[in-house]
Amino acid sequence: MNMFLETLLGGLLAGTMYSLVAIGFVLIYKASGVFNYAQGSLLLFAALTFVALTDQGVPALGAIVITIALLVLTAIAIEKLLLRPLTNRSPMTLFMATLGLSYLVEGVAQGIMGSQVRALDLGIEDLPIFVGDIMISQFDLIAAGVALAIVVVLSLLFNRTRIGIQLRGVADDTRAALSLGIDINRIWQIVWAVAGLVGLVAGLLWGARQGVQFSLSLVVLKALPVLIIGGFTSIPGAIVGGLIVGAGESLAETYIGPYLGGGITPWFAYALALVFLFIRPAGLFGERQIERV
């Protein structure tokens, strides 16, 4: 029983790390209808910039500020050079453009800052904590706390600020928002920048876990099933999806894995997502599409 609880808790906590990546997706999808495949590359870019700067002797705070500034500039460039020329194109075209964007960002980031593995020390020790008989990783606990804090900040941003209300307006009905005089291009820039910031946080946490290197951009593949389960348009969905995937993965690896020879995590989340989709084709919290001819 203890082992079950330990696996479950470990999985749930790891799941919040998936959620962090997924939230960046949801933000962009809600506001601009773009399925942003490049979120993983932006995450890599953010983490790599931070680590490269600290390696050069820039103090952590300065590195953070410079990285954020770069992310904001990137968001503005993306809006001007990619989103604006592709306005009114089909979602599929936009998705493929973000695939191209991910190649560009990865190529540039690694070309400038190198592709070797860099260690990232956030000063959080990965010590196990015991609650009764159950062992929990301290690092995971802090990561979960950070995820929670981000969700709280985002919901405050969305519900209490003028920009947040504009964002929700754009997400709700782009045309109505435009006719009310909301500057949609600026909203897109803000959303992409915010998604970049969420990516930075996720990138730092993941980077501290597994080192900052190319494979960091592949966490996007971990976040996809999370999004699918939660639905593309819902931040609570991303959290719940992350928890389901995290718990499901670690339970499956422990209890089903041995019968299949182990190593089933890469595809298990996808199989799980397929099962959920059969029951709810737009995810748990996604908006159901009504089709008209």
Binding site: S90, A97, I228, L260, V293
Partner: protein, 350 residues
């Protein structure tokens, strides 16, 4: 909302004559290619180009014509390659061409299975199904030694090489003609499918599947057909990639990068065009060579390989974005080769 695809108008007689002449010249050139090009060109450029075109063709039927986005092209190629290997190893009486067909059918059946979710799931949610295929087969073929016959390096290679009916196709010429023959046959098959009812059903579904269902297109069946036919072609392309080009292959030969490469081929070449697959494949195989050549001349080896790879990656990304902005219908359109210039086709109307 969506335009109706009108059949292309009958062409004037003299243009048909010109076309026949052009086609004859092209066929002559293709048959003579091995005697015109060096062995290096055939092995390292022409054969992979042909196979990539075939894979692009397969994916284009599914994504470009039937509108079902797939990120798992590599998985179906992998199934084809491993199935061919198993068949040649365990059913030695089956001649290679038949083994290829059976392997294609197996890949088709697998594609069909992973296409079933498409009947309930639409749009982006669908990529989860093909990605599941991608990761599942990478795991499966690596995990169980039966699939690679317990080989210590976990790779597959045909022990008897490419020979069938007393013919040897192991040299560069043999590989070239084998590949060319298969590619030509499958291209013809695809062309006929596209021009017939099947292709029209697919395009109707791509343009708007609810509307297609309303006018009586059997959406469920047509989608599954698209998955099966596409995977059949991809499976055969995978077998050729493994045995006619690489010689020995492993799971890594068909990873996610391969899937993206095939997707880029059809984006750059032109979604929903047959010749787009060839143009895209030519572009994808020649661009790295051209960049290599350029950097050799510009920096004469001062740039290290890692940086060069990243620069290539970035250029590739820029080109994809540029293509989508400037010419969403790809090279096929850009080169002005489109058949029915009046009948504008849309890629993926929203």
């Amino acid at each position: 909302m969506s335009e109706i695809n009108l059949p292309a108008a009958a062409e004037p007689v003299d243009s048909i004559g010109l076309k026949a002449l052009g086609a004859a010249a092209a066929v002559g050139l293709l048959l003579a290619a091995p005697f015109l090009a060096s062995e290096y060109w055939i092995n390292a450029i022409i054969v992979p180009f042909l196979i990539l075109s075939l894979a692009g063709l397969g994916l284009n039927l599914l994504t470009g014509y039937a509108g079902q986005l797939s990120l798992g092209a590599g998985a179906f190629m992998m199934v084809g390659a491993y199935a061919t290997f198993s068949l040649q190893l365990r059913v030695p009486d089956l001649p290679l061409p038949l083994a290829l067909v059976v392997a294609g059918l197996i890949a088709g059946a697998v594609g069909l299975a992973f296409g079933i979710p498409s009947t309930r799931i639409k749009g982006f949610y669908l990529i989860v199904s093909t990605l599941a295929a991608q990761f599942f087969f990478e795991w499966l073929f690596l995990k169980f030694p039966w699939f690679y016959n317990g080989n210590s390096s976990a790779t597959i290679a045909l022990s008897r090489g490419l020979s069938f009916f007393g013919l040897e196709a192991n040299g560069p010429h043999g590989r070239y003609y084998l590949t060319l023959g298969i590619v030509a046959l499958l291209t013809l098959l695809s062309l006929n499918l596209i021009r017939g009812q099947t292709g029209r059903n697919w395009m109707a579904i791509r343009d708007m599947d609810t509307a297609a269902a309303v006018i009586g297109v059997p959406v469920f069946r047509a989608k599954l057909q698209a998955f099966a036919v596409s995977s059949f072609i991809l499976g055969i392309a995978g077998a050729l990639w493994a045995f006619a080009y690489l010689g020995s292959a492993s799971v890594q030969s068909f990873g996610l990068t391969r899937s993206y490469q095939i997707l880029f081929i059809i984006i750059i070449g032109g979604l929903g065009t047959i010749r787009g697959a060839y143009l895209g494949a030519a572009f994808v195989s020649l661009l790295p060579l051209a960049l290599d050549w350029l950097f050799q001349h510009l920096f004469s080896g001062h740039v290290d390989a890692g940086l060069l790879q990243n620069i290539q990656k970035a250029i590739f990304g820029i080109l994809i974005i540029w293509f989508l902005i400037k010419e969403p219908e790809g090279l096929a359109r850009l080169l002005g080769l489109r058949r029915a210039q009046g009948a504008r086709r849309r890629l993926f109307p929203s």
